[in-house]
Assembly symmetry: C2
Homo-oligomer: 414 residues x 2
């Protein structure tokens, strides 16, 4: 019997859920833009509203989770396209400081907090690990929408997020191998971490040079939109490579964008084509985060207290850790970097899920981590907007004119 | 317990299959463009090569089938964006003739051929139905890539494809209600057909006027790329509506694009953003068609003979039926319309699948229909390219310059 179209998919149900997610996200984005609030917050709240917690119109599904993953991959690819490698290398040392301190403090705080709540050691290690990883997509989306991705502080945040992710990978490998076998596979972890660091450095250094050299040949491809099509393949290919190495797919996507950034500078067609895919898919990423929040667990006051405390600790330690990492810069810049690293988003959720899967963290802790992940993601964007607003004013352009410029820039980027 | 990210999806496997499908499709498209062959043929062949028949790198899956569906929806949306409603209404009478004759002849021929092969009456009706529906996406993609969507013959093909789809729906309802219950629910079918026709006419007539009137307000939306974002929602919403009514989703997508076509005329940003989504998703549609072909069934010579005969009949009857529908036009135009309607693609496969699901058609007939669907889709594009090539020359632009113009136009369209 020939292989046929998978008959198990109900296409009208699929199109319905795509429609509901997109329409809800775009409506909420529009409302939040009009209230001068970050559109990302509106889109995440759209997920809370249409998700199982409230209306129950759409439930988390394989399809939405896949579209969310591809969406955040494209988002970071787009951000990479706006980021020249030298911009990141110039802030390299600073980014390492921010990344390391922004990982150490939340990890330690999460660990001690969970121990104080009578968690097991492994459990406490997992809670610490869940507090580590920044979800840079959120910050990047907000900064992109303000047209501020080329600020020095934005670059430090992007660089630190890469380092943050690699450190998060190492910590997660440590705690999960500890949680799984009771022993720690040091050699394996060193190997993975080394591969991740090497991959990042090599692609970051050589990728851009290679592609800039190849640009005239790419231009001669017969394919429609040669840079866009090559970008698609490169973005998915490097995302895949970084997943195999063990870091998040978005690192590969960011590196792919960065490698192309010199060649497509000023290539409006490429930016807009990529922007189309991003505008289509990013809502799934944001709505999916919102849908994870199950409000019903908060009937238990203990969970509420745990969740609020964990969120407070997550915000404060990341803010202070990253802020101190930026020591010596202006106070406002330190604050910008600190707040830009606060959102945990999908990454914290994934860590907690692994812990739940291994049976080492309790359902209550899981609910608290989930709340923390969504809450940090909702709290940060308004502060990012406020703290970075001055950088728009610094150009000497009055507020009302800037508004239009920003939305123009926004549409180009995202 | 809170609802969590669906843990059943292996994200690296998902990204891997996206990567393989896209890379294979784009490489084959590039090769075929260089050989001056239609890129669509290359992309369908990419599906045959990487699919279960040959390399087995990727198998048809729910994910790919969903992306394929969304891909063809966006493709028809893009085509709609290039099509003003008056362009279609001007050729309305002609399109009805082409659609009706292009349905009647293949249906009758398929029926009698299957009867002659000792098929049951229901089986023969299904084979007839599978021969009916044109997959207009293929032709639209080829004509779009040549920049010829605004030709009169192109518009007749698009209009006829809409009529073709509605007639196909009616025939399918007839034969499946016959196959299922042995009796025919005439009232139900009349209701469905009436709803489909009304929907098409109302959206076709009123949609464009409504949106053109709203355009100044759409422009004032705070959303980035307001027309693109509204287009996304409209495209999915009308696709959904047409699925509920019973016609193919692509009819709704095409109408959505057409409704927006006046408002976004010359809106380069909108076209490019849509083009990005199309370039990303259409390969899944094409590769998915190619993947359906299971070459191993053709070890049985009977199946080979059946498949070849069915393909021959499918090509000849559609070509003649539609050609005669265009009676009175130039011979070349009649041929253009005839060949433009030949591809059956995914539609024929879906009909055969329903018959297989109802247990009324044999595995051999199914294999033959599958072959016919893929073969007609592969055969038509080179002839479309040849028959329409003169329309490029008619502009008086030399061949070599046209090549560049065409690829520029191609990239704008999708």
């Amino acid at each position: 019997m020939p292989v046929v179209f998978a008959a198990s998919v109900d296409h009208s149900a699929v199109i319905l859920s795509l429609f509901v997610v997109l329409a809800a996200a775009k409506v909420m984005a529009e409302i939040f833009e009009r209230l001068r609030q970050p559109a990302v917050v509106g889109e995440i709240l759209a997920g809370v509203i249409i998700g199982p917690s409230l209306l129950g119109w759409v439930a988390p599904s394989d399809l939405i989770s896949v579209l969310a993953e591809v969406g955040v991959i494209f988002l970071l690819f787009t951000v990479g396209l706006e980021t020249k490698p030298r911009d990141i290398f110039q802030v390299g040392g600073r980014a390492v400081m921010v990344g390391v301190l922004g990982v150490a403090l939340p990890f330690a705080a999460g660990y001690f907090l969970a121990m104080a709540w009578d968690g097991s050691t492994v459990e406490a290690l997992f809670i610490g690990a869940a507090l580590v990883a920044t979800s840079v997509g959120i910050t990047a989306r907000v900064l992109g929408s303000m047209g501020l991705l080329d600020l020095r502080t934005s670059r430090i945040i992007l660089g630190a997020a890469v380092i943050d992710d690699i450190l998060g990978l190492i910590i997660l490998s440590l705690v999960s191998s500890g949680g799984q076998q009771g022993t720690i596979d040091t050699a394996g972890i060193v190997k993975t971490a080394g591969a991740a660091i090497l991959f990042t450095i090599i692609v970051g250094l050589a990728g851009s040079k290679l592609l800039t050299g190849l640009a005239p040949r790419i231009k001669r491809l017969k394919l429609a939109g040669p840079f866009f099509n090559l970008g698609l393949i490169l973005c998915l290919g490097l995302s895949l490579a970084s997943m195999y190495i063990g870091v998040a797919a978005i690192i590969g996507a960011f590196l792919a964008g960065m490698a192309l950034s010199e060649s497509v500078d000023g290539n409006d067609k490429m930016h807009r084509m990529t922007g189309g895919v991003t505008e289509f898919l990013v809502p799934f990423f944001l709505v999916n985060i919102g849908m994870q929040l199950d409000l019903s667990v908060f009937r238990d006051t203990n969970v509420v207290v745990q969740a609020l405390l964990l969120t407070l600790v997550a915000v404060v330690t990341k803010f202070i850790g990253c802020g101190i990492g930026a020591w010596g810069m202006k106070a406002r810049e330190m604050a910008q970097i600190g707040v830009g690293m606060v959102p945990r988003g999908e990454v914290g959720i994934v860590v907690a899920q692994i812990g739940l899967g291994l049976g080492v963290i309790s359902a209550n802790f899981f609910a608290a981590v989930l709340f923390m992940a969504v809450a940090t993601t909702l709290i940060a964007p308004p502060f990012i907007k406020i703290l970075f607003a001055e950088d728009i004013d610094d150009d000497g352009v009055p507020d009302n004119i800037v508004e239009t410029d920003v939305s123009e820039e926004y549409s180009r980027i995202g």
